[in-house]
């Protein structure tokens, strides 16, 4: 297939040479606390890496616009439709940005050992929209400024818009830039539709506005320069206002609770509810066995385990599960759902007593779930009463654990004495 300008003359391909290793480096520097093998999470985390593809697309577009800028006198005499000329300068850089972002997604996918679930079309759309904006930004800079200024300006503006807005306290602005979507997802959290809509609508409208401004600077407009420039400014400002309004009240994270109807529940003496990408019959069986062991030993745990990090529902045992967890990690995750017993009103020995109740209960639960008492995470802590507790009869252990759990969930209840 022939192109007006051979593809090898497009700067963006050369930009990809440093961009790809840079993506890998940035990925190493921004490793998350946990990896989820879930496409939504993978795409969300890779949005952080869009810093590099966006800068590459922006810089490449600035160079392509510079090519047209040097002959803007003659541009007034072109016959080709202005939209085609702009599109020809736009698309290779846009595609280059998409390819770089695909590398970013691949890097995260590799680190997460693959993805599960349906593709997150909303997130993918937001990514594509962000790249439209940054490519158009480069075109605008390249159309208005000399290359010596346009190239660094396009690179810096792209980086600053994404990076700087991520640290401002005006949260709506974070949603407008889009990088905030990186924080959207956990197993029970998904990207907020408003956050996706905010960045997508702003990026597309502002991108179109910047293209119009570029067409005026390059003198390849159809309508009068004043009309085109005014329309361009209106699109940028209108897109900003629309994006900010949509993002109003969203808060610092672009997430919302995931639809619980997605949960796949396995009924039984202990019901286990996991999201599709988490679901594994072996894991479900393990969880059922572990919780049943703890309940049989007298721990008053809820018989319904749900993949959520929301605590407070007494009828639900929250379970933070990431595919690939070992038996011990699963037990640890289940035990960690108990309240931590921090009470603002506690003083002196009462703080230590409640801490001891927490460490002892935690390690007792973990060991009991695994069927090997004494192996819990805090078993060796000096504050833990676990060795003493395990010397008592099962009934006494159950009684003590119930009392400790009651004290951890209610600051008005005193923790039990050392066993």
């Amino acid at each position: 297939m022939r192109f007006p300008i051979p593809l090898r003359r497009r700067a963006v391909w050369w930009m990809l040479i440093p961009a790809v290793p840079l993506i890998v480096i940035v990925a190493q520097l921004s490793q998350p606390v946990l990896y989820l093998d879930w496409w939504t999470w993978i795409f969300a985390h890779s949005i952080l890496l869009i810093l590099v593809p966006a800068a590459a697309a922006s810089t490449g577009a600035a160079l392509d616009a510079s090519r047209l800028r040097v002959r803007r006198q003659e541009n007034a005499l072109t016959v080709r439709a202005p939209a085609w000329i702009l599109l020809d300068a736009f698309w290779p850089n846009y595609v280059g940005g998409i390819l770089a972002q695909a590398v970013a997604v691949a890097v995260v996918t590799f680190a997460a050992s693959g993805g599960r679930g349906a593709p997150p079309w909303g997130l993918i759309g937001a990514m594509l929209a962000i790249l439209v904006l940054h490519t158009a930004l480069g075109l605008a800079f390249g159309s208005v400024l000399r290359p010596v200024f346009a190239i660094p300006a396009a690179m810096v503006a792209s980086y600053v818009w994404l990076g700087f807005t991520g640290v401002v306290d005006w949260y709506e602005l974070r949603h407008l830039a889009g990088l905030v979507l990186e924080t959207c997802c956990l197993y029970d959290r998904q990207p907020a539709a408003a956050s996706i809509a905010s960045v997508s609508i702003f990026s597309l409208l502002a991108g179109a506005g910047l293209m119009l401004i570029a067409s005026v600077a390059l003198r390849i407009r159809v309508v009068s320069p004043v009309t085109a420039a005014a329309a361009g400014v209106m699109l940028v400002s209108g897109g900003s206002v629309a994006g900010l309004l949509i993002a109003q009240g969203l808060g610092p994270s672009g997430s919302e609770p995931r639809d619980e109807r997605e949960l796949v529940c396995t009924e039984g003496a202990v019901t286990v509810c996991l999201y599709p990408e988490q679901f594994d019959p072996t894991v479900v069986a393990s969880v059922q066995t572990m919780v049943q062991r703890a309940r049989d030993a007298g721990a008053p745990l809820a018989p319904r385990v749900v993949a959520t990090h929301e605590v407070g529902d007494p009828h639900v045992l929250p379970f933070g599960y990431v595919p690939g967890m070992t038996e011990r990690e699963i037990a640890n995750s289940l035990a960690s759902a108990l309240p931590d017993g921090s009470c603002a009103s506690d003083e002196g020995d009462l703080i230590l007593a409640r801490d001891s109740a927490y460490y002892t209960t935690y390690s007792w639960l973990e060991g009991t779930m695994l069927g090997t008492p004494g192996v819990g995470e805090y078993a060796d802590y000096s504050e833990s009463y676990l060795p003493a507790l395990l010397e008592r009869s099962p009934g006494e252990q159950a009684e003590w654990i119930a009392a400790a759990l009651a004290s951890l969930g209610d600051c008005d209840v005193l923790p039990p004495e050392a066993p």
Binding site: P6, R9, R71, R80
Partner: protein
């Protein structure tokens, strides 16, 4: 397709309000060469820009007896048949001579395949076939001018507006460029602005002299030099021009 007639009457044009650069200038272009003479600041470049459509003006414009708007953005039909070579030809950065000309053809509305075919033909016409794969930015001054002409030939412009194409060229390059002009003006209307009376005016040329933004003379070569004594045609041309301009 040979051109008909491009007629333009510029009632007035100025870059700033109240400061007219061109006043009552009438131009009629048909097959052959018209040489636009005038001192620096006479408005030659502005006239070419106005005819090309890079700037709009107040007045009238017609192409093959079809009236058109003289505003800056002319119709696609007009832009398709008019080719303008500015004083300073700037090749597209990073492209070879061939790629530059083919891209210009595409910008002028040609299909990519046609633009590539015609680019080779245009380069051959201006004698740049050997430089086909040379970076356009690395060409010499004369070669760059010829590249610019290839750019207006690629889409088969019927009206060529060339702004001082021989300025700053060495004699050999100048002669080569004149040869190129001779080869293309047989079926095209060419308006050339220049200070170079020796090289660009021949017996068949029409002459248009612009002074202070107004037409001082329009006519054939013979009427331009009539009544002027001289040992050669070049001397007579120079004397005729000097007399006309000195009168100011």
């Amino acid at each position: 397709m040979t051109p008909g007639v491009l007629e333009a009457t510029i009632a007035d044009f100025g870059y700033r309000r109240g400061r007219a650069c061109l006043v009552d200038v009438a131009v009629e272009l048909s097959v052959g060469r018209t040489v636009l003479l005038g001192p620096n600041g006479a408005g030659k470049t502005t006239l070419l820009k106005a005819l090309a459509g890079a700037v709009g003006y107040r007045g009238s414009l017609s192409l093959d007896d079809v009236a058109m708007s003289p505003r800056a953005r002319r119709s696609a039909a007009y832009r398709g048949v008019v080719g303008w070579l500015p004083q300073r030809v700037i090749p597209f950065p990073g492209l070879t001579a061939f790629e530059h000309v083919a891209y210009v053809g595409w910008l002028k509305g040609m299909r990519i395949a046609d633009a590539r075919t015609e680019a080779d033909r245009a380069l051959a016409t201006v004698g740049l076939t050997a430089e086909r794969s040379t970076r356009a930015g690395a060409l010499s001054g004369g070669q760059t001018r010829r590249l610019g002409i290839a750019g207006v030939l690629v889409h088969d412009a019927r009206y060529l507006l060339l702004d001082e194409p021989t300025a700053g060229l060495d004699p050999r390059e100048r002669d080569r460029l004149v040869d190129v002009l001779r080869s293309i003006e047989a079926d095209r209307a060419v308006l050339v602005s220049t200070h170079d009376t020796d090289t660009l005016i021949d017996q068949e040329s029409r002459v248009h002299v612009l002074v202070g933004g107004r037409t001082r003379f329009v006519g054939s070569h013979s009427s331009f030099v009539s009544g002027v004594e001289g040992v050669s045609d070049g001397v007579r041309l120079r004397q005729a021009y000097a007399t006309m301009v000195r009168e100011d």
